[in-house]
């Protein structure tokens, strides 16, 4: 009985030895192919450098007040275009404005009353690839800023509109509007009066 058991164990060890190398090689080969085919692994350093470059680009495009707003509050306000039936008066307060958040929907609201109008879900997918599916945060803000200030109707036409509350917390947005008014009242982050 003991002899049979020892013989059986030896057979298993021998089989493992004979089959081991090629089996292991096949396994390693599969693993190597999986690694080669896998998307780029998340690299915190690369992401941080991309975000730094994006912040520099954003800063070079928006004005000082908008940049300070983003730096201090984490979002940028963009005035809406004049309504089609309203006279064009650059000194008049804008009838509505947008808050641009990174990787969140645009929020439209009435600056005079603070009333929330709607949120516009819009995405700018990262077409460059490199393992990323979405732009760095500041690139996302820049894309929204460029799209809104250059062709508001087109970007809003492509967005999905919802009442505020689908992705944004309305209480949070109202608090941001209050933070913005306080920030402007206290000197807009040291920039002075808000640029037109």
């Amino acid at each position: 009985m003991l002899a049979l058991l020892i013989t059986g164990l030896m057979a298993i060890v021998l089989a493992a030895f004979l089959l081991g190398s090629p089996t292991l090689a096949r396994f390693r080969g599969r693993r190597k192919r999986r690694v080669e085919n896998a998307p780029h692994a998340f690299d915190p350093g690369r992401e941080r450098r991309a975000e730094q470059r994006a912040r520099q680009l954003l800063r070079s495009c928006v004005n000082d007040v908008e940049w300070a707003m983003y730096r201090d509050l984490g979002f940028i306000r963009v005035d809406g275009q004049a309504l089609p039936d309203s006279p064009l008066d650059e000194d008049a307060p804008p009838p509505y404005a947008y808050l641009i958040y990174p990787h969140k929907p645009l929020v439209a609201y009435v600056p005079e009353s603070g009333r929330l109008l709607s949120e516009y879900c819009v995405e700018f997918p990262d077409l460059a690839g490199g393992g990323r599916t979405r732009l760095p945060a500041s690139d996302d803000v820049l894309a929204k800023w460029m799209a809104l200030t250059s062709d508001e109707a087109r970007v809003i036409g492509r967005a999905n509109m919802h009442l505020v509350g689908r992705q944004h917390d309305p209480g949070h947005v109202r608090r941001d509007i209050w933070r913005l008014s306080e920030w402007e009242r206290l000197g807009a982050g040291g920039i002075g009066a808000r640029a037109a």
């Binding site: 495009c61 077409l127 200030t149 970007v155 492509r158 967005a159």
Partner: protein, 61 residues
């Protein structure tokens, strides 16, 4: 010079063909207000433009 411009035009078209939008950051004289001007054709780029920024087209999220 003509070859350089041809290369710029080709690159501009390539970016748009790949699904990008192109815009030029501008500043309104006197007001300090900055905005972007969308350009759909190379000829639309203002001559005084220092750069053109390409960014992905918007889609509903």
């Amino acid at each position: 010079m003509r070859e350089d411009e041809r290369a710029l035009i080709d690159e501009f078209r390539r970016q748009l063909d790949e699904g990008m939008w192109a815009a030029v950051p501008t500043e309104r004289p006197g007001s300090g207000r900055r905005e972007a001007q969308m350009v759909r054709d190379y000829a639309d780029i203002p001559p005084e433009a220092q750069r053109v920024i390409f960014f992905p087209r918007a889609s509903g999220g």
